[in-house]
Symmetry: C2
Subunit: 249 residues, 2 copies
Amino acid sequence: MKKNIKVNAAILIIGNEILSGRTQDTNTSTLATWLNSIGVKVGEVRVIPDVEKTIVDTVTLLKKNYNYVFTTGGIGPTHDDITAKSVSKAFSLNYEIHKEAFKILEAYYKPGEFNEGRQKMTWMPSNANLILNPTSGAPGFSVENVFCLPGVPSILKSMLGGLKHKIIGGQPIKSLTISLRTVESEIANSLTKVQDENNEVEIGSYPFFHAGKLGVSIVIRSEDQLKIDKCNSQILKFVNEKKIEIVER
Amino acid sequence: MKKNIKVNAAILIIGNEILSGRTQDTNTSTLATWLNSIGVKVGEVRVIPDVEKTIVDTVTLLKKNYNYVFTTGGIGPTHDDITAKSVSKAFSLNYEIHKEAFKILEAYYKPGEFNEGRQKMTWMPSNANLILNPTSGAPGFSVENVFCLPGVPSILKSMLGGLKHKIIGGQPIKSLTISLRTVESEIANSLTKVQDENNEVEIGSYPFFHAGKLGVSIVIRSEDQLKIDKCNSQILKFVNEKKIEIVER
């Protein structure tokens, strides 16, 4: 059966360190690439501070507007880790010790090392579903359509494999990139015509500088390979007419 | 005179390429670091697609909620560059050729090269203020408290110098980082106490992996150096008591 329902998601990056510029967020591109590969289109990303009211309000809004919400950050043991408490409030659920998470971490640490700080990581919204963490023990969790992941990129990445079967994506979004030795203004009009004739396909144009030379990458995105191919032919036609060189990137 | 007004800003990243995961955004950290240095605190970041209604609605909301809004992306010559048109709508201004921008680009290009695509980059909200571009000619622009910059990181960076005098910041936000050879759970309780006793200071805790070893960076942020120093002493006190090693990062 052909899946053709459009499925979308919002990404919510929680953390003062991103807003201050101290930390360069890379979780957005990790999550977005992964979500696209399973047929989930990212509709928006927000970065917000470690402020409870802001987290509660934003989760409340996004979980209503999108099929899925993925949060990153704020699920560690310190005072600034308030994602679990805030998500509990957003769903009007108790914030309490999750028995399964407690067992996992009790077994993970050496006797005597499962201290109060570490136990904090087992406090979650009541009856949350766990997202297992093969890297450092402490699980993430989900409530309904909201999935809460850690902020450390390597740990987040290691948890996506176990998450895949919980997400029901639509048709995977395919993309094709054509890189040209030209500048955007040379192809702008022709590309506009192609976009106008192919409304359901997303065509992006991105200048690049590589090995000291200017170029433009045209990216065609759609769930439908045939529509991509049609656009591709139309673009190659004007590229050929204008004698523009196609390059590898 | 001591400046003590708090000044905040929102960053709005416009572009499908960030939402698809194809492009890793770096403009957020560039802008956030620069804004912090001139006393402007970033309250939130949003990444949205190249969709006119979404841009208009988001700019309309953010310009009301923040002292400043900085947009990146969507001011080039191609069909997917719709920031200038959308910002015009958000301010109910005409979208028209900006005479000064036209003169700049007419002089910038060789005779005959100032084609229709390039002329598109001179279409702006009526009476917009230009933000000069020392890298590639085409200026950004501002309307009231909304500043529109390009998406290409190197070009954006080159335009910040010319922008500085247009932004009135508050007291610069200072920060101090203490990096420790420990794990978060060992210091969580002590750090919570320090935060509770110093409400006006922002204390963040960030685990790191460096040269195969685990560590935690504690970041203290405030406009007031004395408040930072007070926190620092309290943190160093418990670090010393717990015999935790302080490391360079």
